[in-house]
């Protein structure tokens, strides 16, 4: 699946796994997760073009990778690592070809409060767009 390509790329980066281990989960993380960690969500997947015989197999996918950390610096550094790892990613796996990936945008680093505590945590979302085609 397309999502596994960028998750694999993040897991292959030792600088990132030094921060998060294998804590890169879809949408949200487990209750026992230790910060910092990453989550991701696929926002949009649409065919690149429409033909008279149906939509193209090649698609554009847009996804967010969300960095959650206990300190502002950890959030910033980890988010920057994510951007550098995924911007320009092009990879072929057994079931998908990613032709290109580009970094699109980031939110400001937000400070939130951990539920049930007064402990601050820091969150940033990075958005990426990729063009990919499933291999049939």
């Amino acid at each position: 699946m397309f999502e596994y390509t960028f998750v694999s790329a993040l897991l292959a980066n030792e600088d990132i796994t030094e921060y998060v281990g294998e804590q890169i989960d879809p949408i949200t993380t487990t209750q026992t997760a230790q910060r910092p960690y990453l989550t991701y969500s696929l926002n949009q997947s649409e065919p690149v073009s429409q033909t008279f015989s149906g939509p193209s197999k090649t698609k554009w996918g847009t996804y967010d990778v969300i960095t959650v950390a206990d300190t502002y610096d950890d959030c910033l550094n980890l988010s920057n690592l994510v951007q550098r790892t995924l911007n320009g990613l092009a990879v072929t796996t057994d079931n998908v070809i990613v032709h290109w990936t580009k970094y699109e945008d980031s939110t400001d680093i937000e400070q939130r409060i951990e539920p049930g505590t007064e402990k601050p945590l820091y969150v940033r979302s990075d958005t990426f767009k990729a063009m990919y085609v499933p291999i049939e």
Partner: protein, 141 residues
């Protein structure tokens, strides 16, 4: 009036011996993204003379030019090379609409090119010239 969806239309070409109403003898060009059928246009021959009494020019129909058709598809190097090799050769062409009807014409491939989009797919375009009158086809059997 029935509404005919555009999706499902096909662009085909065949030899000059191809029969417009036949399902065989035609090569379908796949993955068409844009299709512009021919638009015949008739020349105007002005017949205005000093005998006109209402200050309006008069005309009669001249010859009709069958026009040109354009097709854009996803780029395929093999298909592109094949059609590029058919440039200027007499062929028959047909656009089949999704309701089973079609329009056919004799002519030749007269132009080709590609369009490269850095974030999209590479496309190829072909242009055909209509020779004679396009033929509407009610159905293909």
């Amino acid at each position: 009036m029935p509404e005919t969806p555009g999706i499902g239309a096909k662009f085909e070409y065949g030899e000059t011996s191809a029969v417009y109403t036949s399902a065989t003898g035609w090569t379908v060009v796949a993955e068409v993204t844009d299709l512009t059928p021919p638009e015949p246009e008739t020349d105007d021959i002005e017949t205005t003379s000093h005998d006109v009494t209402d200050a309006h020019r008069t005309f009669q129909a001249g010859l009709t030019d069958g026009g040109e058709a354009e097709v854009t598809t996803h780029y395929d190097k093999t298909v592109y090379a094949t059609i590029e090799g058919l440039m200027r050769l007499d062929k028959k062409f047909r656009i089949r609409y999704s309701d089973g009807s079609a329009i056919g014409w004799a002519g030749y491939f007269k132009g080709h090119g590609t369009e490269v989009d850095i974030e999209g797919l590479t496309l190829m375009k072909f242009k055909t010239k209509v020779s004679g009158k396009p033929v509407p086809i009610a159905s293909i059997t």
